[in-house]
Amino acid sequence: MITRFSLKNIIAYSSLIVLVIFLFSCKKETATPDPESNGIVTGVYALNNLPADVNATSASDARILYYSLEENKVVDESQKYTTNWDIAFGGIYNSSIMINNGKSSVSPGYGGPGAGAIYLVVDRKFDAQYYDTLNFYVTKLPIPVHLFDASFNSVKTAPDESKMKTNTLISLDHFQSTSDGWAYYDFYGSLFPGNPKKAHVVYTMPRTIVIKTAKGNYAKICIQSIYKDKPEDPDRDSKPGYLTFKYAIQKDGSKNLDIQP
């Protein structure tokens, strides 16, 4: 009798405990908001005329602009050793695109906790529409605007981890280097001989960059202009330091970048 009674009790109590645990777990799930999300979900985001260093000169590096793709906002320099930013614009006229990686001496987050990476997508067949792929200069100006969206949309997945670079930055195309870049810098004005207003002009190219954020999510970004109001045909009167770009971020941790607006 006693044995049966306690067995019943055990069943009753354990059911109760299970129920309570169940209720608590439900409560927890619904009551805990994600403090990280800031409302930014997987999707496509566009920024117009984001002011970087609008007072920069060609004499020295521009003040670095730190940006969070995860939260779609500018981050203060005081947070450079945190995972709160994913991409930084520095160097001459903010033309170097840098990632947040604590193991990379060319990252402003060197020594910090960031684990970001970067990969510039270069498709020579696509480039041939506006660019001399053997001599590395722009052949068609203004570069047709629709190519920017075409490049952005054609990147549907992040590359293998082995291709993502951690110890590099993406800068001007074949300028004082042999590296592909995201923009063509016509230092001498050689595309427009005799027109002094066309020297020292940066022509943004329709090239998409895959970014691994400081926290490990994948994103893609295509910069459309570094000049105020993104003039189709910029010259020396155009005001540099104003970034216009489009990016997509995948929040589920996968490499899927086929993200629709």
């Binding site: 050793y81 945190t82 193991k103 060197y110 020594g111 906790p113 110890n167």
Partner: protein, 251 residues
């Protein structure tokens, strides 16, 4: 012969027994100890830097190669189960240069499950070939003139040129520092503005800081004809020159 062997065996056994009795009991492991301090924020392909934890001294000592050029580091800290550490594991130490130059320090507090606490002081030291600098002036009474020419604008800069050995060549704007100390012990920072050559052309035997007439903030702090003692910081090392220089603004 037999007796000899027996004796030797007995003696050996005795010696072994003696050694055994001398073994001290292992002290109990404090639950408020720091177990490991490892820096993984080093260049890719380089082994993590492991800090030396000294429980008796309550210190952690980290040696960093100047070759890494780190000015911040992110340690992974292990403590016993149930214990906590503050600042936490993964919190970036952002003032490495001032720590190496012994201007500042960080103390970690480990709190065990039972509430007992232990402090550890972090020491960061640089591993680098010793920096040597030749005196700029020949004696206290004969300070070398550093002259700026405001009438030439940005081209009228004065130069404090150092000769010596083992100056860092990479990232000098961040990893080196120059200060002037005046007779009242005020310290004035001289910003590094580049040396007119590309970074790849810099050598470990020469280095120069420029004072531009266009830098009005700096000029407001400097006094015409005053004498200053130069201190140069080469990553973790610090050298104060024995003989001063004289700063002059030309008409």
């Amino acid at each position: 012969m037999k007796i000899g062997i027996v004796l030797s065996a007995t003696l050996l056994a005795l010696v072994a027994a003696c050694t055994k009795t001398e073994t001290l009991p292992v002290p109990g492991r404090g639950e408020n100890r720091m177990l490991s301090y490892t820096i993984t924020s080093v260049p890719d392909g380089v082994a993590p830097v492991v800090g030396a934890i000294d429980d008796a001294d309550s210190t952690i000592t980290v040696y960093l190669s100047s070759w890494y050029g780190l000015i911040a580091m992110t340690p992974q800290i292990n403590v016993p189960a149930g214990a906590t550490v503050s600042p936490a594991s993964g919190a970036t130490v952002t003032n490495l240069l001032s720590m190496m130059r012994k201007d500042s320090t960080i103390t970690y507090l480990v709190t065990a499950k039972d509430g007992s606490k232990k402090n550890y002081t972090l020491h960061v030291r640089s591993l680098q070939p010793q920096t040597k600098i030749d005196e700029i002036s020949t004696s206290v009474d004969n300070p070398k003139l550093v002259t700026i020419y405001p009438k030439y604008g940005a081209n009228g800069y004065g130069v404090v040129a150092l000769k010596g050995s083992n100056f860092l060549t990479a990232n000098r704007s961040t990893l080196t520092r120059m200060t002037f100390t005046d007779s009242a012990n005020n310290i004035i920072d001289i910003p590094y503005t580049g040396e007119g050559v590309s970074e790849t052309a810099l050598t470990p035997t020469a280095l120069s800081y420029r004072i531009y007439p266009t830098n009005t903030d700096l000029l407001n702090k400097l006094v015409n004809n005053a004498v200053y003692y130069v201190t140069f910081y080469n990553y973790g090392e610090q050298i104060k020159l024995k003989y001063p220089i004289r700063f002059r603004i030309s008409n």
